[in-house]
Symmetry: C2
Subunit: 431 residues, 2 copies
């Protein structure tokens, strides 16, 4: 009998070696992911390295439980922490009471697994310190690209983790939206579809405005470099202003627009960026479509590492959370980031810009002349297209400072009634 026999779809794997006394697991939260974890733990209860039993779940209201979970529900954590369970799994989401409860558990020496990126992004330093103080393991593999295990791996391997730049497509909702808009849907229709398919939440604002990706980038920067950054420190742009025309123009000039999160280390400084960016067609990240997520780890002069896979979903997240539990029960350590320090953050300097101009456009040659006066040179122009309010054209520029781009566009706006959208160009993986 295998730990996996009972997980649909069936996968045959022999039993996991080792056995021991029953491990007691307490759940904080029992929403979509909490229920999936609870189901998964029931399914594999007697098949893992140790028998697993859920001692109970903390919920806001114990009267509205409708599923068939055999464990009790509590509205207060006291009964869950006393006697101490072997592992606490935090799936409440949000900052409080998650932070207080996780600190409480770690303070009592109880290992904690969480999938809560907001919590780890905002309070990671404090939580990691609390875990180190008490010696309790603290793992959060599911907080970034939930279906792809890599955070724990790199935290334990300092040479592999010695990278200069991390580029991620870490928010499946916004990646799905841009993929579908590129296929011709309006933003509203794409969002509606994503919500119908379960790829977007009822309130998708944190996904769409980049907050969710900023949380994940803060976790990545802490793990790889020990950067102590708050999600608010990260310059973040959402995807909602993108329409079919920009995505189609991007394709015309050989690329696509992807919602990326970029952390870069240059000298003693760093830069952080979250937002849509132009990705050249040859770049493997350009083909990370739909809800697929990916992370690329770059090291100057070397071939980059690219990891891709599912980034969300209750079952995917539940498996990663329970694997963290298995690692802890097998004696594995915390996901221990590099020691915390505050980096000096500089503005993100992309290798060029994707500029989309719409309205009463002058001739392309005229725009090119005007831009040239500011040191802004185009690598590629799209054909101008008719659009609401006139015409739309897109261009791809060579590297140029944000100030020069802003000045050039301000000048253009002073001579013509146009709107401009400016996206950074993602540098290629190999430097």
């Amino acid at each position: 009998m295998s730990v996996l026999d009972a997980i649909a779809p069936p996968v045959e794997v022999p039993p996991i070696a080792g056995a021991g006394r029953e491990a007691r697991v307490a759940l904080l939260g029992h929403g979509l992911i909490g229920s999936a974890v609870s189901r998964l733990l029931r399914t594999i209860a007697n098949r893992g390295p140790r028998p697993l039993r859920v001692t109970g779940a903390l919920v806001r209201n114990t009267r509205v439980r409708t599923d068939d979970a055999p464990h009790p529900f509590f509205a207060s954590p006291a009964a869950l922490f006393e006697p101490a369970p072997d592992v606490v799994i935090e799936l409440l989401g949000g900052l409080e009471p998650a932070r207080t409860l996780v600190l409480d558990a770690l303070g009592r020496g109880i290992p904690v697994v969480t999938a809560n990126k907001r919590l780890v992004a905002a309070h990671g330093d404090e939580l990691v310190r609390a875990a180190a103080r008490s010696g309790a393991a603290f793992r959060y593999e599911a907080s970034v690209i939930a279906g792809v295990p890599f955070l724990g791996t790199f935290a334990a391997r300092p040479l592999a983790a010695a990278v200069n730049r991390v580029v991620a497509i870490a928010n499946g909702t916004s990646n799905y939206l841009l993929t579908r808009i590129a296929e011709g849907l309006s933003f509203a229709a794409a969002l509606d579809e994503a919500q119908r398919l379960g790829f977007a939440e009822t309130d998708p604002s944190r996904d769409i405005d980049g907050s969710d990706a900023a949380d994940k980038l803060a976790v990545l920067a802490r793990t790889f470099w020990g950067w102590s950054v708050r999600p608010n420190d990260i310059s973040t742009t959402g995807v909602s202003r993108l329409g079919a025309i920009e995505l189609s123009l991007a394709r015309e000039i050989a690329g696509s627009i992807k919602p990326v999160a970029v952390a870069q280390q240059i000298g003693g400084n760093g830069s952080l960026f979250v937002g849509p960016a132009f990705v050249a067609a040859g770049d493997p990240l350009a083909s990370i479509d739909g809800v697929l997520n990916a992370i690329r780890l770059e090291r100057t002069g070397e071939l980059p590492l690219l990891f891709s896979g599912p980034g969300a979903g209750p079952d995917v997240t539940a498996r990663t959370v329970v694997d963290d539990v298995f690692e802890i029960l097998a004696g594995g350590a915390s996901i221990r980031p590099q020691p915390a320090h505050r980096p000096t953050l500089r503005q993100h300097r992309p290798s060029g810009w994707f500029i989309s101009l719409g309205g009463s456009l002058p001739e392309t040659a005229e725009i090119a002349d005007l831009f040239g006066a500011y040191g802004l040179w185009a690598k590629r122009w799209s054909e101008p297209r008719p659009s609401t309010g006139g015409r739309t054209v897109a261009l791809l520029t060579h590297s140029c400072s944000p100030a020069a781009v802003d000045a050039a566009i301000a000048r253009l706006k002073s001579v013509a009634a146009i709107d401009a959208m400016l996206l950074p160009v993602l540098e290629a993986g190999r430097e």
Copy 2:
């Protein structure tokens, strides 16, 4: 000061937490990779979690050492194992004396790190048992896709490791050759170039004939499913019979030919395949070019996981080996595969065939009729091209048994003087 400050190219990372008494490392072998490990260990000697010191290196001939390594060289292992070092790193390559020495070290309770895929493929069961018996850690992360850490990760995470199929491009030499031949070089010119650039060894036969990839596939199948298979159990085809014409025809029918290794679990049975295969252009594996390596982990009904990065090279391998040392010094466990058992192996059943036919070809319609009589239906035909001995054409078929394909081609050969090359079509990642 960071463990990484002194590694070129410079990467700024704060110091790794923790410290302890000096860790003594013994090297078995001091060739290209051994020297790279020795250099790396010197560079980071006092900057890791524990100060590191190489106590000596085992070499065949102690008189020919010319580099400036400050540690002694020995022609016999006795002085290296007594007193026991904290870790032994095996980089001799090949089966003996590597096997005997690793068993000796593990038997004495000394942890061992190896990059030796031949050793782990052929004797993995025995080595894993020896490690379990003495409790000494045994790690071999660099044995498969040396620059991408994943073996240890999945061995510790049974739910993530519950996959149905593993597809790898795990041999950089053959991938480089096919990439360059597709760009127009002859096999001989591509091999010459690869050797000049250090991408192929002086004797590249184990890379070209698929033996190296078969070793890696045996390690993968053991890690994910506990399969106890010898590399000789794996049906293996090399890349040397492929020429520019097949690679160009593959592109014409929207794909490329890649040197893949595939392990699949179906019901209680398994199949293993190593050789060139047709990969559709939309498949991310089709763009794994040059010396890049990749592994895709597939689970029915889910988005696959894809990991790619450098698969070889002394510096890349040395970093992975030393990260294994760090994991062991930090108390990390062995890379523990699933418990060993012998699978029932079936013939690999691809989803279709890429067939290239050359010589005195009948008309395409005639070939199609003849093939149809055997249940072999083409999805796509290339245009016939003039070639030595007549014309060459390629087709892509629907799924069909190997027996039917063989019968159809035998029948065609009985009516026309032709040669045929048959490659499986790689199924898409999502099932």
